[in-house]
Amino acid sequence: MRSRDGNHSFTLAICSVTLFSSLALQASEYLISYRYLIKDATLFNETFYISKAMQKCQGTPSKPIYLDNPKHQNLKDLLSAYDSEFIEYIHKLGLHVEHKDITTNFKNSSTTVLTLKTTCFKVDFNENFAIIAPLK
């Protein structure tokens, strides 16, 4: 005998799938690298590369950052809007420091390079915000 709410679990499952799929509108992986060079205490060069991963990355997301995204911007636009926050976040994740200093006949010259090696980030675009987390 079939109850009046016999399809209840099926309806609930459909609703939950729709809800979660609407929350996580798009999840994808991006490769991000960052490098800047300081020459004689002055910023000389700064590069920031973003590229969509063409292969699936290995690892689990850790230490995510949440960025508001009410205008549904893509990652490049979003990061250019929140560049200072994201660069601060990258500093927290860890940068490779390479410093060289040369003093010739009492004239000093120094070069410091800070690098984030190419890292795969998982980016979840939700309705009003995006979650960016490196895969480790």
Partner: protein, 176 residues
């Protein structure tokens, strides 16, 4: 015969006094320190003899100068540095100058942390030609990975940006 005996007696006495005088010419060893590099060895592996210090005040200050923070197993070490950076000459606005100077100061602070934690490699080279110094070069370098450093304070005054940064190190971060 008498004179020969007298001569022998004089020679023997002079040689005895000479031996007594020669002994103090050796360096006076006042303090002997046993250095054990591993810290767990029973027998002394190396004995360093310290010469008598002419200035006793300086000798007293040595242990204080040699004192340095050691990362113990149950304690953390907080390292604080101040990095400095200047803005390039061709900036379009003061805000851009501030942002660029801050970036340079942050990198300098990271470099200082790396130098403090990991150490600096120093290479020196002097070229002498015809008894004159032709070229003197000192190269220093450091390579490290720095993470979880916190910016405490940022100041920008007269084109110079200073970033005070600190990092907390625990023993587990260095555990093998």
């Amino acid at each position: 015969m008498k004179y020969s005996l007298l001569l022998v007696a004089l020679l023997s006495s002079s040689s005895l006094f000479g031996a007594n005088k020669a002994a103090p010419t050796e360096p006076a060893v006042s303090n002997i320190t046993v250095v054990c590099p591993t810290g767990s060895c029973n027998k002394p592996t190396e004995v360093v003899a310290e010469k008598a210090c002419p200035n006793p005040k300086a000798h007293k200050e040595m242990p204080a100068a040699a004192q340095e923070e050691v990362l113990m197993e149950d304690a953390n070490i907080r390292i604080s540095v101040t990095g400095q950076g200047v803005a390039p000459m061709n900036t379009s606005s003061p805000a851009q100058a501030y942002a660029l100077a801050k970036r340079a100061a942050t990198a300098d602070a990271y470099r200082l942390i790396a130098e403090k934690v990991k150490g600096v490699r120093i290479d020196g080279e002097d070229t002498i030609q015809n008894m004159m110094v032709k070229r003197s070069t000192v190269r220093t370098s450091v390579r490290a990975m720095v993470r979880n450093a916190n910016v405490v304070e940022t100041t920008f005054k007269e084109g110079l940006c200073e970033v005070e940064m600190e990092i907390t190190l625990s023993h587990s971060q260095f555990a093998q």
